[in-house]
Symmetry: D3
Amino acid sequence: MFSLTVSSHVFIAHSLKGEIFGPAGRLHGATLLMEAEFSREELDENGIVIDVGEASLILRDVGQTMNYQNLDELEVFKGKQTSLEYLAYHIHGDFRKRLAGRFRGMLKITLRESPQAWAGYAAPIDE
Amino acid sequence: MFSLTVSSHVFIAHSLKGEIFGPAGRLHGATLLMEAEFSREELDENGIVIDVGEASLILRDVGQTMNYQNLDELEVFKGKQTSLEYLAYHIHGDFRKRLAGRFRGMLKITLRESPQAWAGYAAPIDE
Amino acid sequence: MFSLTVSSHVFIAHSLKGEIFGPAGRLHGATLLMEAEFSREELDENGIVIDVGEASLILRDVGQTMNYQNLDELEVFKGKQTSLEYLAYHIHGDFRKRLAGRFRGMLKITLRESPQAWAGYAAPIDE
Amino acid sequence: MFSLTVSSHVFIAHSLKGEIFGPAGRLHGATLLMEAEFSREELDENGIVIDVGEASLILRDVGQTMNYQNLDELEVFKGKQTSLEYLAYHIHGDFRKRLAGRFRGMLKITLRESPQAWAGYAAPIDE
Amino acid sequence: MFSLTVSSHVFIAHSLKGEIFGPAGRLHGATLLMEAEFSREELDENGIVIDVGEASLILRDVGQTMNYQNLDELEVFKGKQTSLEYLAYHIHGDFRKRLAGRFRGMLKITLRESPQAWAGYAAPIDE
Amino acid sequence: MFSLTVSSHVFIAHSLKGEIFGPAGRLHGATLLMEAEFSREELDENGIVIDVGEASLILRDVGQTMNYQNLDELEVFKGKQTSLEYLAYHIHGDFRKRLAGRFRGMLKITLRESPQAWAGYAAPIDE
């Protein structure tokens, strides 16, 4: 299995809903270090999993939809819990749309909010 | 598959038994960066894999049993080889006990002793 | 010259005022990795610059005044530009109050908002 | 599943062939941070996955074949695309030869060319 | 003293001249993590040392003159030893030209070629 | 001012003497990431501050005197408080002896015991 990972980061504000989150229920923010790992069984005709430049561009485009934003006010997150896990899943969905017809394999999104906590979502992109 | 990881660290002393370990057979020590990665197929009712606060607390509690200790003198490690791999397995067992009835899924423990060497143990928590 | 540094982190939301900040003028957030470096010419009677435990506690206490907060709504930052540089200066001031009579020497505060940008403020604590 | 990882680095020059690589088609270079992760179901008679010292030595030996080299001029890479993915596969092959009869399990090679891009190749070593 | 640092990276090939460099005398390459630290006594009218966006842009522009290049073939390095130290000095000179009239204070350039070796050059920008 | 830094690490056991250290008064251990930063005003005839290879060798030799050791049992630390600060000072002294006649300038030793605490000692080497 071959893999290729690119990373970038975004600055976001948000709040979490539910008693268990304590102070994280208040409006606060985080730097999210984003990683997108692409995996597939065989290399393509250029000898790669996916072009680093293309993968980085998609990551930045996807990130731009939330960079320097208050997620609590974005239409796309209305009624959603913007936990790290859910945000990874949401970003995975954005990638899926942009990758349609250009990549088949596994995609794992990882979001690091601090050196002490991070989350991920992994699922195949197979259309 | 969703995942959530928390990390912390402990300071321990120990020695390894066996000729192949050379100078590591002497009493020495290490800072162990500990990571606990929880994975499951679905998010819970709060939209998360496990509460970061709860996971961090368990990690710290488990770490306290060996923090600032000489493992060679702890009853629980008598007759055991306290390699990084075994310590990861041991910590996994401690987590299993504390997570009983609170988490079902995969748990991976990673211990980093330096930027150049680390070890892990992964197994499902399914009771 | 001896030095001792401790680090921690906080999650904050804020916005910057001024055209040059572009999208950072919107309410967003960041994880701030905080470092406090204490320097002095001689070690104390315990053979240290300052106790790691005490320094870490002050750092956490100081951080708590902004952790999980929207800085735009805190009284203490009213009319202030909460740039990384200013926040480092503000934290330095908080340290100065708490260290009164307990430490003489240089104190440098560093705040890292991403792997690609960080800021600091250094000045002597000499009362 | 137990795992043990060792890391090191090499300095290489190379160029990539194909229009999609843009400026990376020119002769340039990179520091490659190399990681070799060994995984197996059971620990050996010493209570480990593989000896850290032995694993580090193999990693350094394998790295020496390309350290301080222009890969475009090495016989072994003639006609090959020396992408990170391919280099990880190539290094995996070198490990396989050296591990014959000494390790059975999964081996994953990861190569990091910057904090923002890395690649890997994973396959079982089962002879 | 206030400071603001931005970072980026470039991929370069080069060789060093002189017996003491051993294998580094061969054409090889490196990823150079570049940091530019700006320091000054007072914040400007925007409450900052220098705009992060402007500083990052200069860093990238300066980096572009050597990114994906073989330094041995660039006119600007003819007859020069492209050690990390000299490259830091060279980059400092490029910054000095671009900052003329826009920044007065100390500038430190740091170049990291691996987790185990880095170099820097610091001097005032005071025209 | 030019600078060149090399890094490495050692595994040590020790205990600290004094009530303020709490649990660190017990025999425990740490991985110490060691950095040696050499600074001088001018580059030498090879266009460098000091040879990376030579500097790394000295760092490893100096580290070997404490690697895989219980510092409480080493003659050289009898009656000494082996705090990070003191160890940095001690290592600085070892460097001074080995550098006699080979380097004039500033030397800073940094020891990192965890991502959350590190210490240093800096003084000129001018014999």
